[in-house]
Symmetry: C2
Subunit: 436 residues, 2 copies
């Protein structure tokens, strides 16, 4: 077990080291990571070196197969799509492959180059609610839910914001009003809103390059990494969270922390008496008219991971994005209150965001687990580890869903190219939108 | 880990011992096993003694919650229902609760008594293709797939029979023509049909009361029971099967063996190059117009368990039963060739069936993993551990699906009552069928 952990850790460290390197060529080139060509998980049984299980998901390029097969790797709860007919997603195909844009390094790249170079598994573009572009790679099928990783946070944030709107949660209340269990932890004197905006100050860091980093304890507690033999910490999420200590003062600055969302996920379930999968199904999947069930990862104690555990199809995420573009209305009904979407788009404190040192995302803020660029188009974004994106651009009447399995944990890895690609798509579609 | 295994084993032994006892009252009475009343898996987190995980599924009454939450307990692959609208299952409700029948012990019981006393989670009755009765208990919802256990074998049998019909598998061929890996095992000189009819002779037994029984090695290899510390055997299904040795001569008599179906499942995947979930989806779920995804349990190596691993909703099983009642046609199309269904209904060798000593099922035979009573109505049945049933009665134009979580592994536990209940339902519906 320990050697497994070590090799997993080695892979993590390697990819993180590479991420910090200046040059791209040290990373496995995308064309060498196609899981079909590599014959990952092919044959009965696949050869041992082509077998992907939970313990070796982080050994790249196993993620390229694993991220659209997560339920085969461990326990998960279904997010039921509901009994109804899926909502309409009309097709209006456009040849966006002709788009060319500067990748930020002075190189002109096309949309297919960008998809390949950012290890894209699914790309779906909605313009005015119609699918204008939809591509899958790495063997992913349209009906397969893809691991959303931290994009899960944004779904949890929507649930929280809606429950706040309904008066069932007070954002200014201390977390302990709902979760007395965390009274001796970092959240012992944090408010709900500080936790939702990640301005809490917690002895926890998300550094994939540091073996003692909080993220590894988190992954072990959540059943996503096998515990090394020497591990004596918590083995379930709800046992782990109360042990996380406070650092400085809450409310001072933004610090990206997966644990904050787990606290909110726990709180939502406590307040409603419903499991996260039920909340996601009743409040998002069913009213959206989702086409497929989603899922939530379940830890060793049966708890659901609100921060990184959700999986969904590209089409269902495009329904979610379109609903947000339309101020909460989709599928002939109000899915979220317009005020919830307005609050989301307002964003958080840009000054506090600077504290995180995310210079690449200068001018952004973070609010209710959404990324707000504060750009001219009023766009807003959900993001997850290894390249998961829901990008909503209201001015361009555009939703882009991009699901990926790139070799670097941090999604900022492709941030510059992604923003340029989203802008190029918006420009191309605006061009179309003009009267003939 | 070892103590976990011991306690699991202890529970198994207890329930088996109780099954052999003469009197029913030693078993937990059904009304004391309701998982909602017991608050199993309720709360965030549920108390430790109310927490159900894979390691304690066999500690009764945890099965009452677990059997309709299996995907939350371990790795599973989705059996996709397809992109289309679910096939119609018209409603024509009948008050079957008025039915009374002799339970075999001289007692008149009603249909609700029988459901309660046999720990039923779902009961669905189709008459002439219409739902006349549908009940759920123990918190199970209509959209939840239930563990089918050995009823999975019957699905695997249908796939095999169809591929034989298409000429892609020769039933008289040695298994080794397709699976050279088993040449030194029990199946080294067995034919495909002997394996499909379980007339192979294998050093393996399905005795839940004997700790060294083959079934425990099977469950460990399949990732369904944690391995005790002392365990040194195979840890994946496809590594385990080639190690199973021959006993006497093949073809002499029927002996119920879960491993035979795993060999066939492996063979189907080898022949088609498709995974079991894909075969089930393309050849059953999609053409049937299933309402929900099913699933297949995945072992530690990623292999899918063809013998016990499938889960499905009661409604989708009723679609399957109705298709078989209609000689393979359902949802406006031929799902299976009529010859496949005819072959199934023909049954196996009644004399060879006697070898198994299943006196309770006198007159039955077993063919292509289906149970054939050879009764006047021409009925045929799929069955699974702890009370899973698809009962098709062509003469009465009847399909009964019963999904349960009774405290005894062997489904024969309630065989007498179940047969009498099925007959009483058939009689009541026949009465309806008469002209007024």
């Amino acid at each position: 077990m320990q050697s497994l952990f070590r090799s997993t850790l080695a892979a993590v460290l390697l990819s993180s080291t590479l991420a910090h390197a200046q040059t791209r060529p040290q990373l496995p080139p995308p064309q060498a990571t196609d899981p079909i060509a590599l014959k990952l998980m092919q044959g009965f049984p696949p050869p041992p070196d082509k077998t992907v299980r939970l313990a070796n998901v982080l050994q790249y390029p196993n993620a390229r197969w694993a991220f659209h097969h997560m339920r085969e790797l461990g326990p998960t709860a279904a997010v039921w799509r509901g009994a109804g007919t899926p909502s309409a997603l009309p097709q209006a195909a456009r040849d966006l492959d002709v788009i060319r844009f500067d990748d930020g390094g002075g190189q002109q790249v096309g949309l297919t180059d960008w998809q390949r170079d950012t290890y894209t598994d699914a790309l779906l573009v909605l313009h005015r609610g119609r699918i204008v572009y939809e591509r899958y790679a790495a063997g992913m099928q349209p009906q397969q839910p893809h691991a959303l990783w931290s994009l899960s946070k944004s779904l949890t944030g929507l649930l929280a914001a809606q429950l706040i709107h309904e008066g069932r949660i007070d954002p200014s209340a201390p977390v302990t009003r709902y979760l007395p269990e965390v009274k001796d932890s970092a959240w012992g004197d944090a408010t709900v809103q500080q936790t939702l905006d990640m301005t809490t100050s917690v002895q926890y860091d998300e550094d994939f390059a540091r073996p003692g980093s909080g993220i590894f304890q988190y992954l072990i507690a959540g059943g996503l990494l096998p515990a090394p033999a020497s591990y004596s910490g918590a083995r379930s999420m709800l046992a782990y969270l109360p042990t996380v200590a406070k650092a400085g003062e809450h409310g001072a600055g933004f610090q990206y922390k997966t644990v904050d969302t787990e606290v909110i996920g726990w709180l939502l379930q406590r307040v409603t008496g419903q499991r996260l999968d039920e909340l996601l199904s009743q409040r998002l999947w069913q009213p959206l008219g989702a086409g497929e069930d989603g899922y939530v990862w379940v830890d060793g104690s049966g708890a659901q991971l609100a921060s990184v555990g959700v999986g969904a199809t590209a089409r269902d995420l495009s329904r979610l994005g379109e609903m947000l573009r339309l101020q909460g209305r989709f599928n002939g009904r109000e899915v979220l209150a317009p005020a919830v979407v307005a609050e989301l788009r307002k964003g958080g404190d840009v000054e506090k965001f600077k504290a995180a040192g995310q210079t690449m995302r200068a001018g952004y803020s973070y609010h209710d687990f959404w990324w707000i660029p504060h750009d001219a188009d009023g766009s807003f974004e959900a993001k997850g580890l290894n390249g998961q994106h829901v990008h909503v651009n209201p001015a361009a009447e555009l939703v882009v869903v991009k699901l990926s399995s790139h070799p670097v944990p941090n999604t900022a890895y492709t941030h510059v190219q992604d923003r340029r690609a989203f802008a190029a798509i918006a420009a191309a579609l605006r061009e179309t939108g003009k009267a003939p």
